[in-house]
């Protein structure tokens, strides 16, 4: 670890928070449907969409109608995306003449993009036509993120409103988030990335002659436009298989900085916007502080472990001061590699600029734990906020009882129905991740996909399901996911992780909105101070540690101890 490394990390996090504060005000305006500085340009377009779709923006929906709208939209998105992939061979904008995508892979990819996961069991540059990339994948990079934030809006309204029957209008929330928030930042960001060297073209590939005189085909395409929303919408699906480690996706230090900044920006800002919406910025800051504890401790552990290097290599005479450089782009350096890895898994982005498979066991455990916890520091666009609030509700429940009152959070009593829904949501995680991991290690077809054995192989499987479940999409690699078993089970896990989790959350939004808001008194324990932050951290650590400790101890933890003993996998 170096001072410069930490300074880089601190600078970037400061930049994120600095930009998130003003952006949170803007998000709060988008949430409330207020006019903002973009309205003169965008409001006519927005109205046009409503007129086209026959939506009355003034009419709100109850939680069930909101949920059904969201599900209908996601199903339609799935069908179109599946169709485009299967038909890409006969559709235009296919300069390199790719064939239709195989059914199981098309299923997996469609699910992956509508759930904001962007798990990729394919190499983009050799599988997907430009049309598929642009109208299929990139479109979902926008709308799946917008859907996530819309669902968070619904839950926030549950807290902000008192005895209300409605939680907003899904179509309006989704449209507004896309038009006001995601598109404008993406346009600016894409131009910036182009200026910094990322390609943006409809051409298919460039043929080049290398120094040795060999012929090489270098894939290019509309990279910059997909790159910015990949980070901004916490999507993570790269144009190239190497993702942000590829020099066209991430040409230099500046683009690296922009990309990490972009993937943390909206999740951070939406937490603060939540504080604004419930009328107390401090509530937002408290949640953000708890998230920051996990993120920063994660960065610290990973950074420490990576710069410590591999004792086995040190024993072979490799200079330990360089740390572990396997799987890293030297131009990104250790600090920004571990920061990227932690941030991409702390959010549900899943983009990578370093190979997580090559991290030291403890450093690799950091993104893995982030995924197992559901990517909630600060999380995916919208998904992080509602994911964290569910855990906060469980923490508040236990703590509330300890002060001798029916637990309440932000003036809303947490009662039987909320507990039922919260438990229903959090049960999905161990069920999907541990359930499918358990099934996979029993199946030879699944084990055949592994490149590594022992604890490392186990890590790869746990990581894959955790990533799918948290709708992250990053891979530990070393695992061939493009098989019938993994395409279909990972697809199912992505669906469960998104929809089986969010439907109870939306139901909770409805039930919270219907409740009276209780004024705070000295008898209600404050949810905006250090005590609450500590409580949140403690409950999350215990809750997730208890769930995953056995699995983790058989994967990265034992691998770490074995590595110290000189054994690798």
């Amino acid at each position: 670890m170096t001072f410069v490394g930490w300074a880089q990390i601190a600078l970037l996090l400061a930049l994120v928070v600095g930009c998130a504060v003003p952006l949170s005000k803007f998000i709060a305006e988008v949430y409330a449907g207020e006019r903002n500085f973009l309205s003169p340009v965008i409001a006519p377009v927005e109205r046009g969409f409503y007129r086209l779709a026959g939506v009355d923006p003034a009419r709100e929906q109850d939680w069930l109608a909101y949920t059904l709208a969201m599900l209908a939209f996601s199903i339609a998105g799935f069908l179109v995306l599946y169709g485009v992939q299967r038909l890409q061979g006969v559709l235009p904008l296919n300069p390199r003449g790719f064939d239709a995508v195989a059914p199981d892979l098309a299923f997996n990819t469609s699910v992956s993009f509508i759930t904001n996961t962007n798990w990729q069991n394919y190499s983009g540059e050799t599988t997907m036509s430009h049309l598929t990339q642009m109208v299929g994948l990139t479109v979902h990079n926008f709308v799946s993120a917008a859907t996530g934030l819309a669902m968070a809006f619904a839950l926030v309204r549950g807290f902000a409103r008192s005895t209300a029957t409605t939680v907003g209008n899904f179509w309006v929330d989704m449209t507004r988030v896309t038009l006001y928030l995601l598109l404008p930042i993406s346009v600016v960001g894409a131009l910036l990335l182009i200026a910094l060297g990322a390609p943006q073209t409809l051409a298919g590939a460039v043929d080049a002659t290398t120094l040795e005189g060999a012929k090489q085909t270098i894939a290019i395409g509309p990279v910059a436009s997909q790159e910015i929303i990949k980070e901004l919408g916490t999507n993570g699906g790269g144009f190239f298989n190497a993702n942000s480690a590829h020099p066209f996706e991430n040409p230099n230090a500046w683009t690296n900085l922009i990309e990490i900044w972009a993937l943390l920006l909206i999740p951070t800002a939406s937490v603060l916007a939540f504080g604004r919406a419930v009328g107390a910025m401090r509530q937002g800051w408290a949640i953000l502080a708890a998230m920051a504890v996990f993120l920063i401790v994660g960065i610290g552990v990973a950074y420490w472990s990576e710069t410590g290097g591999n004792p086995i290599l040190t024993a072979l005479g490799v200079d330990p001061s360089a740390g572990n450089l396997e799987g890293k782009e030297v131009r990104n350096g250790q600090a920004f590699s571990v920061l990227f890895a932690t941030a991409t898994s702390g959010t549900s982005t899943g983009a990578v600029n370093t190979m997580h498979d090559s991290l030291t066991p403890l450093a690799g455990m950091v993104p893995m734990f982030n995924l197992l916890a559901g990517c909630i520091w600060p999380g995916g666009v919208g998904a992080g906020l509602y994911g964290f609030l569910v855990v906060a509700i469980i923490a508040v429940f236990v703590a509330g009882l300890m002060v001798g009152r029916t637990p309440e959070y932000l003036g809303k009593k947490i009662e039987t129905r909320e507990m039922k829904l919260a438990m229903l949501a959090v049960l999905i995680y161990p069920l999907s991740v541990l359930g499918f991991t358990g099934a996979s290690v029993l199946l030879q077809t699944a084990l055949d996909s592994l490149n590594n054995s022992g604890p490392h192989g186990l890590s790869e499987i746990i990581y894959a399901y955790a990533s799918a479940n948290a709708n992250n999409g990053s891979a530990f690699a070393g695992l061939n996911g493009n098989t019938l078993w993994f395409n279909s089970t990972l697809g199912i896990v992505m669906l469960l992780g998104r929809f089986a989790y969010v439907v109870p959350v939306l139901a909770m939004a409805g039930s919270l909105a219907a409740k009276k808001k209780i004024p705070a008194s000295a008898g209600t324990f404050p949810t905006d101070g250090p005590l609450f932050i500590g409580l949140l951290v403690g409950v999350i650590v215990i809750l997730y540690l208890l769930q995953y400790f056995p699995a983790l101890s058989l994967a990265p933890i034992v691998e770490h101890f074995l590595m110290l003993g000189g054994k690798t996998f």
Partner: protein, 684 residues
């Protein structure tokens, strides 16, 4: 009632014996099904027992281990049952005492309930129906709950209240309700039966203290869901651990996996949850308050605003004389003497307090009055004046306007000093009385509402807990404000009518607040019903007792404060033990995981921070700790965690430290200690 007669120890011998039997009876899975955590424990105990039998038959060398695990798992279930049984047992003892009062009473029923001069017939009390009118004479037991329609009697209600001093019950007014099982001591009354046999007050009390009608309260239900959810999560963890371990090269035995499961699921709080609920109700009963539902007790913990009647709650029931204010050149001593003389014939508490003040502060002796020359003018509500005529010389004292009317003196013509004194007394919230002798005003007596000592501190404690106190009084706003500030309440409702009270409650509730109040009169009934916690006084009317959701047998309105504390303590106990239970799991992992994989991954021995002797002793010690901790915590579950009236943040910090951090650390020590014993006894 029984509780007053003899305080029970936590573990009374007969109760423990009965509870031990009950613990076995409660093994019935149908009864356990409502407690998911313990139900799962019972199912897996059965499975390990079967495994033990298999090990025994096949001689695979595991029988000693699986046998001990099976035994301790059964103990876990039994200890949980025992906790519930012992909590119920304490209630049952009280119910039995109550039931003895209900043995077949005979009743004299009027054949025609419209004709109360008519003939009575002897019937069994259980055959009475609603609307019947019965005659109860001195020495007889009142056969059922009812309203007195005729007569006045002194009644011994000790069967219910434990208070042996008789109370007066009479037709009409707020003292007309009588309770079945109480005894008429003198005179006779005619009572219209208002509760069918089987649903009388005593029947309801018996059902409540016995826990027969116990329904899980809202918070308890929510907590059960959390515990059930955790149980499912740990089931998933343990079931999926088998294939993951197999992949890693370890074939885990079912016994070991089950041992891990039982250690992880929250058996501690699961086992104690219902005991905590029953004990909470029981604490209230011991406090001579009967709640009609556990929901009401929980609501008490949530109360934001207490509506307290001024008289009897905040102040002593009666105003008392506190000073004499002479006017002009009258000496204090003379004023005191005149006040004393004029009050000798005033039997009201105010009159007696004047006598006491004159004798006490001024050391005056009882004047010797010659009955021949003395005419005593007693105090009446009409004249509001009392006094004496001694040998033609008269002295009078009474309300200002009454005395002035007596003197035929308009207020403007009174001395300035007199008017100032009256003004001063009124402004301070007191009541001025005038004393006159032979047409001359001597001065003013200051009658004052005396705020109960210590009440201000209690209100301050309430405020620290975030509870507002509101004083309700019929006094005018000036008087009310003075007393309110002296007592330290947050707000007051002056010149309050029952409608005002109801409106105030509705207003507070619409703002999301929960209100508690107490009352005894029929006109309090709507407000009692509207309030979230309505405590009716046992001495109150039947209507009030039915409207409220609690009845205070001691009829002491100050108790509202303790009721709130008991409600809070109930929730706190649940929350604290939940935290403790979950925090315990960390240590159990550190005991069991290295033990499970000692063969495949000896390096995981690094996690064996407790340095436990062997794999088997580690697992066995964790299971034993898990069972014993339930027994160890029964006293805490029954008594409730310590409650302090500090703010929520301070309370949380304290409980997190004790039960969170304590729960994290204690099992490390406990499991290590048990391991040492297990190893020394060569149990594993």
């Amino acid at each position: 009632m029984a509780s007053k007669a003899k305080p029970q120890g936590l573990f009374d011998g007969t109760i423990v014996a009965a509870a031990s039997v009950d613990a076995l009876r409660k093994l019935d899975p149908r009864a356990l099904a409502k407690n998911p955590v313990i139900f799962v424990t019972e199912v897996v105990s059965l499975m390990v027992t079967l495994l033990f039998i298999r090990d025994l038959v096949t001689h695979n060398g595991m029988a000693a281990f699986s046998g001990q695990i099976a035994a301790w798992l059964w103990f876990t279930v039994l200890f949980a049952n025992f906790a519930e049984a012992i909590a119920e047992g304490r209630g049952k003892a009280q119910a039995d005492a109550l039931r003895r009062t209900r043995t077949d009473t005979r009743a004299k029923r009027y054949i025609d309930s419209e004709n109360l001069g008519g003939v009575v017939e002897g019937v069994n009390a259980l055959d009475l129906s609603l609307g019947d009118v019965v005659l109860v004479e001195a020495g007889e037991v009142i056969p059922g709950d009812g309203e007195i329609v005729e007569g006045v009697a002194s009644v011994n209600e000790s069967a219910i209240t434990g208070e042996s001093a008789p109370v007066i019950r009479e037709a009409g007014g707020d003292r007309s309700a009588v309770t079945g099982g109480t005894t008429v001591l003198s005179d006779f009354i005619k009572v219209r039966i208002t509760a069918a046999p089987g649903s009388t007050f005593i029947d309801r009390m018996i059902a409540l203290v016995e826990g027969a009608e116990r329904q899980r309260t809202p918070n308890e239900l929510a907590l059960s869901i959390l515990l059930a959810g955790l149980t499912i999560i740990f089931l998933i963890v343990c079931v999926t651990l088998w294939p993951i371990a197999k992949y890693s090269g370890t074939v885990l035995s079912a016994t070991v996996l089950i041992a891990l499961l039982v250690c992880l699921i929250p058996t501690t709080i699961g086992g104690l949850l219902s005991a905590i609920g029953i004990a909470g109700m029981d604490r209230l009963v011991r406090f001579n308050v009967i709640a009609t539902s556990g929901r009401a007790v929980e609501a008490a913990g949530d109360v934001d605003t207490l509506l307290l009647d001024k008289t009897g709650t905040i102040t002593f029931g009666n105003r008392m004389a506190t000073e004499f204010l002479p006017v002009n050149d009258v000496r204090s001593q003379d004023l005191a003497a005149a006040a004393l003389a004029s009050s000798l014939a005033d039997d009201t508490p105010e009159g007696r307090s004047i006598v006491a003040l004159a004798k006490g502060d001024f050391g005056l002796a009882e004047p010797k009055l010659d009955p021949k020359t003395t005419v005593v003018v007693p105090f009446t509500a009409q004249t509001r004046i009392s006094g004496v005529d001694v040998a033609g010389c008269w002295i009078r004292k009474g309300a200002i306007d009454s005395i002035l009317r007596y003197l035929k003196l308009p207020i403007e013509k009174t001395p300035v000093e007199f008017r100032q004194a009256v003004e001063r007394v009124a402004m301070s919230g007191g009541t001025p009385l005038a004393v006159a002798e032979e047409g001359r005003l001597l001065g003013v007596i200051h009658l004052k509402d005396i705020v109960k000592p210590g009440i201000k501190e209690r209100f301050a404690a309430m405020r620290a807990m975030g509870i507002r106190t509101v004083m309700v009084t019929g006094d005018n706003p000036v008087t009310a404000a003075a007393i309110a500030s002296e007592a330290g309440v947050d707000d007051f409702l002056a010149e309050a009518t029952p409608e005002d009270k109801l409106a105030y409650i509705r207003k507070e509730q619409s703002g999301g607040r929960l209100i508690a109040m107490c009352g005894d009169g029929t006109n309090d009934a709507p407000a009692l019903a509207q309030a979230d916690v309505g405590v009716a006084m046992q001495t109150g009317t039947q209507a009030a007792r039915e409207a409220g959701n609690m009845v205070d047998l001691d009829s002491n309105p100050t108790k509202l404060i303790e009721i709130v504390e008991i409600g809070k303590q109930l929730l706190m106990t649940r929350g604290s033990l939940t935290t403790f239970s979950i925090a315990n799991d960390v240590a159990k992992y550190f005991a069991i995981l290295p033990a499970m994989f000692a063969a495949t991954y000896p390096v995981l021995g690094t996690l064996n921070v407790m340095r436990l002797t062997s794999s088997q002793s580690a697992i066995l010690s964790a299971v034993i700790f898990n069972a014993l901790i339930i027994i160890a915590l029964i006293p805490l579950a029954l008594k409730g965690v310590a409650y302090r009236p500090v703010g929520a943040a301070a309370l949380l910090r304290r409980n997190l430290l004790i039960y969170g951090l304590g729960g994290l650390i204690l099992p490390f020590i406990g499991i290590k200690a048990i391991d040492v014993v297990v190893a020394a006894l060569h149990l594993a």
